[in-house]
């Protein structure tokens, strides 16, 4: 099997299994109260981790670059309660502009 085929087949199978483990095995039953408490704060925790990593991650290092300016723009836009589409566009536009200037 070619390396690419191996990766596509097994990464696909592994990812589908990781995503489906809970929904298939738990059969839609409600989680025990303790697990629900974990899940409740998993949203903010994972989202904050995703924000932090996708803003500051370099090649296995932390970097400060134009993405930070984009996120500052997004934060200010959020303060003014603009729609989420505009917040996202502002983040991209600020980041792209800063990169073009540099």
């Amino acid at each position: 099997m070619a390396p690419a085929l191996i990766v596509v087949v097994f990464l696909g199978l592994a990812t589908m299994a990781l995503k489906a483990t809970g929904p298939v095995l738990l059969e839609g039953r409600p989680l025990p109260p303790r697990a629900t408490a974990v899940v409740a704060s998993m949203g903010p925790s994972l989202l904050a981790a995703l924000i932090a990593v996708s803003t500051f991650e370099g090649d296995r290092s932390l970097v400060l670059d134009e993405r930070v300016l984009g996120m500052v723009g997004a934060g200010i836009a959020l303060r003014f309660k603009v729609p989420s589409l505009i917040v996202v566009i502002i983040a991209a536009a600020v980041t792209a502009t800063a990169r073009a200037i540099r």
């Binding site: 690419a4 990812t15 903010p44 924000i51 996708s54 917040v87 991209a92 990169r99």
Partner: protein
């Protein structure tokens, strides 16, 4: 925020209709994911171009987007193949990046009902963005929001990949357009309203701190997976408090 604040009413509709997700809830999910449809499409194009350059057959690249449906893992695995890192290294990197989908799947499972094959298929629509959109607060998730957002992003990803393998990188580097900043920006939009609660603020602070600490130390994927540790600690302490 107008897109996202539609969610609670639709969640009420979903609860009054246990048969499944009402169309309105799916439409709200699709609307909430629209800010990311263009960035996901653009990254799909650049993934297709990368896969083509790596010598992956066009249909195989599209199959990868259809089955793995997780951008960072696909980019990482394909880059390792391009650099001659071998199938095992590519596979391990991709799987590590996707380990977070096990806790994410578990968090969604109470919301996914129906026969096994349906629960399996709906679970495949979970990516970071659709999961965040489907969260209606307090650890509850809405199936319709997940399906609406997940399908929108799935189509953007597949169509983007298909164009990328055929037309190459005609859009250039998505980073030049600042599109890499679109993802954290939407996550910020989605997390901000939750930060009024004390537990959520601690969870967010802990998740971000632990992930950033681990970025230079651990392989990609692990820093985000370990963000489940603060919620475990918080749940334990709130259990003791009560």
């Amino acid at each position: 925020m107008s897109h996202v604040t539609l969610a609670p009413t639709d969640t009420l509709a979903a609860m009054s209709n246990p048969e499944g997700a009402p169309p309105s809830s799916r439409a709200a999910g699709a609307r909430a994911s629209i800010p990311l449809a263009a960035p996901v499409f653009a990254f799909g194009v650049s993934f297709g171009a990368l896969a083509e350059a790596a010598g992956i057959q066009p249909l195989l690249a599209i199959a990868m987007s259809a089955t793995t449906f997780a951008g960072s893992a696909q980019f990482a695995a394909t880059s390792i193949l391009t650099e001659g890192g071998g199938a095992a290294a590519a596979l391990i990197a991709g799987i590590l990046l996707n380990t977070r989908y096990m806790p994410i799947g578990i968090s969604l499972s109470p919301a996914l009902d129906g026969p096994t094959w349906k629960r399996f298929l709906h679970a495949q629509l979970a990516v970071d963005e659709s999961w965040a959109i489907a969260h209606t607060g307090g650890g509850r998730f809405d199936k319709g929001l997940l399906i609406g957002a997940g399908l929108t992003l799935y189509l953007s990803w597949i169509v983007g990949t298909s164009l990328g393998v055929v037309a190459g990188g005609f859009l250039g580097d998505p980073a030049r357009l600042g599109l890499d900043a679109a993802f954290p920006a939407l996550f910020l939009v989605l997390v901000a309203p939750r930060l009024r609660e004390c537990d959520a603020r601690w969870a967010a602070l802990g998740g971000a701190a632990i992930a950033l600490t681990l970025v230079p130390l651990a392989p990609a994927g692990i820093p985000i997976l370990v963000a489940v540790i603060p919620p475990l600690l918080i749940a334990r302490f709130s259990w003791l408090r009560h």
